[in-house]
Symmetry: C2
Subunit: 211 residues, 2 copies
């Protein structure tokens, strides 16, 4: 098995924290996205979308998408469940994970990619196709969405210790990675969001945060 | 149990086709998004995001997101699996379903919402927050992404009868709904994409296509 990874990228980090929390070790292959290695023919032969993370099984089967990779490992190694313990909890984790991804991770990506000179010709991750230019208006849309993201986090975390009840799940991992990612564009947990600050400090103190 | 639905909207339709394929009947409550019923206080009390579909369980638990709702039903009613039959197949369905959603459904939404006068002040689905104006440049980005979507469909469907092997899965359902949705903006399966045409006709002939 091979896990195509990129140490600095926020989406591979979601999967790495997931694996660290479950105590699963997978051989990693680092792809240097800063130098465009993910858009070179060698990696495009592995993943034509140029996206990380990508998992390769021993029989050669490959797939991308963080949640597909995490769900595969959750099924193979059901201990320490991070996608929920019951059907209802799994539905809530999926719904909230996705909200954290859309309103946090993807909104952050819109801010980052559309104001960063290095992505002026590539406003959508991945390659292999016509260049799609940056859209500066997405910076403001992303910023507004992130206000909503942080308000939602504070509201949920004022009720419970984690996003889905009393235990860490993938919803927290995605939200935590989104908070760290948007710090790249100097957006931070608002002052006064005490519940989110408490939650963020707790996740940051776990060994998995270094994954 | 209650399924908050909207007959004309493409995302609720994904869940309706999924339920029809599994033979599951759930009481439906129609929400009139054309007249903004999803953004009125009565529905925002049910789902503060104003999004459809939303599922409400008998104990009052509610969650949104098509995949969370479908996964919940797949667990409760495992017959006729539509999210994959093995861990690897489930990973592939999740990965490809998501690609169909991003490159098909969401790209189509970018084209539709950002050129439609009715959404000039709401470029992101749902409500309850500051208005986010339409971004006309997203129309062209969406159109380019849809070219990639249709090329990908043709490449996959030239190899196999369905997106994941020899049987219908949620990846097909999402892609099929995306194809019908983008017809609203007069984008269609390209002439000469024979495998996609064959697949589209086969899905359209199933009773579930009327759901």
């Amino acid at each position: 098995m091979k896990f195509y990874d990129c140490a600095i990228a926020p989406n591979p980090r979601r999967a790495r924290i997931f694996l660290a929390e479950k105590g699963i070790e997978v051989p990693r292959i680092e792809i240097d996205i800063l130098n465009g290695e993910n858009l070179q023919p060698a990696f495009l032969a592995i993943n034509p979308r140029g996206l990380l993370p990508t998992l390769e099984l021993d029989d050669g089967t490959r797939f991308d998408e963080v949640m597909a990779i995490c769900r595969y490992f959750e099924e193979l190694y059901p201990w320490r469940p991070l996608l929920g313990r019951t059907p209802v909890e799994r539905a809530l984790v999926e719904s909230l994970q996705r909200r954290a991804e859309f309103d946090g991770m993807i909104a952050g990506s819109e801010v980052f990619r559309n104001q960063h000179a290095g992505f002026a010709a590539r406003s959508i991750p991945g390659g292999g196709d016509a260049a799609i230019p940056a859209i500066p208006a997405l910076v403001e849309r992303g910023r507004q969405t992130l206000v909503r993201f942080f308000d939602w986090l504070e509201e949920r975390l004022s009720r419970d210790a984690y996003l889905v009840g009393d235990t860490l799940t993938m919803a927290d991992i995605t939200a935590f990675c989104a908070v760290d990612f948007v710090a790249w564009v100097d957006i931070h947990v608002p002052a006064g969001h005490a519940a989110t600050q408490r939650w963020y400090a707790a996740l940051g103190a776990r060994p998995s945060a270094q994954a």
